[in-house]
Subunit: 510 residues, 2 copies
């Protein structure tokens, strides 16, 4: 349980031992969550919900217990002697989690859980029925309770304003003042690119990516690519689920899921590469820190940077397809005559659309900008819940030039708000920016084009292991990015990558 | 959460609410256990062990907490007003579990867990190496710690002698004085039958059960039979595992596993029918008692009666095969010319053998008699650990007329002792006796031959639901058997069934 080579002190050992129980409860809940999405028989759902709620309650009780408070305080005292040491990082992360858990009264936590559960059901139905009114009251309740929670978080000193307190829940330390310039530069630079692509008159030929791709063959190809990436199937699995996800129970058991379309290979393959990217991060977390506060991924933004790096910067690159295409043609003989030059543009379309999860690399971040602006309006009390559909559509029209004819593809499209996850969306964009900055830095010392063309992905993974994965939560996310890349996070690398791609596909010189 | 139609009192509600947490922890551990045996990637094992140990510790803490003691005492006071009521049954079962959990000091519990874990690993290796010495010390430790635990259980008033205290852990209330006459009558009556079968000169032709049975086809056939039995696949699953088992997380999620041999269909099919029999019991437990003390199966003996009834009394019967054989022949065309008369003897062989789990109906209980006698010798301090291999072989020679040339197929064959599960074996025989008594009673009102021949298994399941499943732990196992069959448990029905079968196959008139 020691986190250094030195033997653990009694204070450190007591603290980490109690913490290990909390992590174990979370780990058990993770397995139950995975099972729920993959193999649980349908009638098991109600009881599963109860069991997961019980585990969540047990974990919360432990996090807010006087016993933990005592051993954490003792460990903090000891860590004070070496503020840059590992123990200081352990107590920093533990304190952060305890503070957030303790800030919100147990009664409010229960009300939130109940409201989210009702809102989720209402949202599913409302989306199916294309009926915002059927969701409005539950959404209003979720927003009101989230504001109440955020108020407690502000009172506890976690952030200066409510929306920052929410952001911090997903991206520790992230603030609007940090995010606003990044997202503003994306807004300012992406919108012209998207417009220019539309005005170029070029329509990408997507037929090389379409046809008939039997599910079994897609599985075999995706499995092979995941292995090539370095995903360890002895410490993981690939299963089917309605929505692809990655879930880890320590670095030795990290599972991914996928789904596929038989008429288009892209969702299946890039879904697997995306989730395998997430999973490589979790498999690369230090085993000796498993079950400790710094043994986890540092933030959702950094997590997303790993998935997007493999999905986009590797998986959609020309050199990768120089290696992959002969294998692809073997697996899908009907595609034997496809060339890299023919396929590549179909991996880099730029078409403004309504649905975030189906958006391409170029437009994706504008979907996030829209949500960032709307969420701030909500938490700055600048919009009524009943006006959200209109605000949504107006924002889309302004940013992307499209307006949904149905609310189901507008404000009702995402699950997040129904689960009370406000402040989550910006992490997707952070991931896109971080991955470009990491990859550009990596290319200063690695000839990634040559490696990819040879199918030699190991040095790329090793770079990520060395600069990102092995650190767990040892450093806060912004510090980790700066240590890995030599400068604070900027949108420049992402925009530069995107300009290059758009120039090649659409002849835009933005 | 109420267990009657009347609204729950505050005492009842508080007690059942705390208890629900304990059951939820157990339920979570159950899912993790299932996952471990089916889909967990191999490298996940060490961490999984830690998480399961943590959950076990959390459950134990709750069971022995002052909070539970208080609400249980209050519920007991209230239940005193209606000693035959449901609440009295709830408190009786809860008290039983709490008393057992509280009797053994936490330190001893931890030492037992550690010793069992080491012994399990040592046993696996020793069995592989056919080397008793490599297991002897760990076995001695397991026995010593079990004696220590049993001593605490006796001190807590759970039983009068140590072995009874162990039996009670698997079959509540079972005692040597109750079991001894039952197992003695089996010993006295089965041995002559087994000898007579051997002396008959008849060797059953097993070729109808042998050949080539592709795994996929076996799965399809077994799946169909399990559905015909009434197993609800919307509330269950059938997966592959090294050792078949059933595990339930409430009646709406009860999963079974199987394994198969392609050259003999019997292990696969009867394995599925056996586990589906277990699962029908769990699926039939009252949903309104899920998560309460009486919401579980009453004992391992009764559980085994359900699996054996479907496996043996249904699955090996002539009328069942009158219905099943045409479907079997369709699934396995190479067996199209097999008749019920040709197949039936191959389902009822009587051949003394060394390995319990491969034993036939006739000899199986002699394997249990052997273990019952040896375990009593251990806990009456009548045998040294080093002498167990010889005692084992001598007992087998006496009871079954066979002697293992290797210790791996002798005293090392079972996993139970390596896990500290002493007193478990007799429940297998109780299951065989109970199922015969239940089936004989069922036949007083149901024409099971006609139903089976028509493939109409629903009335058989309904009888079991009505007389066994729906009661959960409402009554202690012996009372449940007496209520269902009108008389206390006896070996008569089983012996009568077996004599009939052996007479038909071997012409024995025992």
């Amino acid at each position: 349980m020691s986190t250094t080579d030195a033997p653990a002190s009694e204070a450190e050992a007591s603290f980490l031992s109690l913490w290990a129980d909390i992590e174990a409860i979370g780990s058990a809940a993770g397995v139950l969550g995975w099972d729920q999405e993959t193999y649980m028989p349908p009638k098991g759902q109600p009881r599963r919900g109860q069991v997961l709620a019980t585990l969540a309650g047990l974990g919360h009780d432990k996090l807010t217990s006087p016993e933990l408070a005592d051993v954490l305080a003792a460990a903090e005292t000891e860590a004070g002697g070496d503020p840059d040491g590992v123990l200081a990082a352990q107590t920093r992360e533990a304190r952060r989690t305890v503070t957030r858990a303790s800030a919100i009264p147990a009664d409010l936590t229960r009300r939130v859980a109940g409201a989210n559960s009702r809102a989720l059901a209402a949202w599913r139905q409302a989306r199916e029925d294309n009926d915002f009114k059927a969701f409005e009251d539950d959404l209003a309740t979720n927003i009101a309770l989230t504001k109440e929670s955020a108020g407690y978080l502000v009172d506890a000193g976690i952030a200066d304003d409510p929306y920052d307190a929410l952001l911090d829940g997903f991206e520790p330390g992230a603030t609007r003042s940090q995010l606003t310039p990044l997202l503003r530069s994306l807004r300012d630079e992406l919108s012209p690119i998207v417009r220019a692509a539309a005005d170029s008159g070029i329509r990408v030929d997507e037929t090389p990516a379409k046809g008939f791709f039997p599910t079994d063959a897609q599985f075999a190809f995706g499995h092979m690519v995941a292995e090539q990436m370095g995903y360890d199937f002895e410490a993981g699995r690939l299963d089917v689920s309605a929505h692809p996800f990655t879930t880890g129970f320590g670095p030795k058991d990290v599972r991914i899921t996928w789904r596929s379309e038989e008429e288009d290979f892209r969702p299946g393959l890039f879904g697997i590469m995306h989730e395998a990217g997430h999973a490589l991060y979790e498999q690369g977390l230090p085993d000796e820190w498993a079950g400790t506060p710094i043994g986890n991924a540092v933030s959702l933004g950094v997590h997303e940077s790993q998935s997007r790096l493999w999905e986009n910067l590797v998986g959609r690159s020309r050199p990768f397809w120089q290696w992959a295409l002969p294998r692809f043609a073997e697996t899908f003989p009907s595609k034997a005559d496809v060339t890299v030059d023919a396929l590549w543009p179909a991996l880099h379309t730029c078409v403004p659309s309504l649905i975030r999860v189906e958006a391409d690399e170029a437009t994706y971040n504008l979907h996030i900008v829209a949500r960032f602006e709307i969420e701030q309006a909500i938490f700055d009390d600048e919009v009524e819940v009943g006006d959200l559909p209109t605000l949504w559509d107006d924002t889309y029209e302004e940013l992307l030039g499209v307006r949904s004819p149905v609310v189901a593809d507008g404000v009702l499209q995402d699950i997040h708000w129904s689960m009370g996850a406000f402040g989550y969306f910006p992490t997707y964009t952070l991931g896109n920016l971080i991955n470009a900055q990491l990859f550009a830095t990596m290319r200063e010392t690695l000839d990634t084009d040559a490696l990819l063309a040879a199918g030699d992905l190991r040095p790329i993974l090793e770079w990520l292991r060395e600069n990102v994965h092995r650190h767990g939560r040892r450093y806060p996310a912004p510090e980790l990015v700066e240590r890995a890349t030599g400068r604070p996070l900027t949108a420049d690398y992402f925009l530069s990558y995107l300009r290059g791609t758009m120039s090649d596909v659409y002849g835009i010189n933005a």
